[in-house]
Amino acid sequence: MKIKPNYLLKTIGENIVVVPLKEEAIRFNGIIALNKTGQYLFQTLQKYDLSKEQLLTIVLNKYNVEKALAIRDIDNFIEKCMGNKLFDEKSI
């Protein structure tokens, strides 16, 4: 899985959001809110094409969390990305 290049991470107040870049404009109407873990996963998948298992390893190495919780966060993130078509189709 890899994030399409035309999505950017921004902050609105204390919120972390993803906004699409389309037709040369940053589209603030297409906002997708993320939590801290989501932000980290998004930034990672902007750079690398990784599987769910690879993501889990990275999250477990970075955060001191239970495996079940990390899996749930990753699943939520993937579901959100799939729902908003954030993944490069070639990488799924």
Binding site: K10, T11, I12, G13, N15, V17, E23, E24, A25, I26, R27, F28, N29, I31, A33
Partner: protein
């Protein structure tokens, strides 16, 4: 589910992007620019580099609020703005202007504010507004 943001936080982020020279877009909130810009339906596209032109739409700061209205004229050092659906006027200094609407999208249709037909429609609407208020005054008598 769409997340709602604090209006001021939202515009601070929009301003940051405009300052960087980026073009931005967002959905219009409110009906003050109806019929051209429709609440929750019209997506406006803005850029910071612009030449001030009469009857174009600008984003500006007015009494600590961010407003998107049409520039209709100048009085001394102040620029005069008004919403197409409003009667009240806003007098602002030129440095209060943040960006210009160069394009908008509604119902899948893109309208460039430089298009001849759009400009023609705006001018017709402005004439109609004057005519409408004149008729109202006559009917009140």
């Amino acid at each position: 589910m769409k997340k709602a943001f604090n209006n001021s936080d939202f515009f601070i982020s929009v301003l940051k992007e405009l300052e960087k020279g980026n073009k931005v877009s967002f959905l219009v909130k409110g009906n003050s620019m109806s019929p051209f810009l429709v609440n929750g339906k019209t997506e406006v596209f803005l850029k910071k580099n612009y030449q001030l032109k009469r009857y174009e739409i600008y984003l500006f700061k007015y009494h600590d609020k961010f407003i998107l209205h049409r520039y209709i004229g100048k009085k001394k050092d102040n620029l005069i703005f008004r919403g197409d659906n409003n009667n009240s006027l806003e007098y602002v200094s030129e440095d209060s202007i943040i960006a210009n609407v160069y394009q908008f999208q509604i119902n899948g249709k893109t309208i460039n504010t430089n298009q001849f037909f759009y400009k023609f429609r705006v001018r017709c609407f402005i004439v109609y507004r004057v005519f409408r208020s004149f008729i109202k005054k006559i009917l009140k008598r």
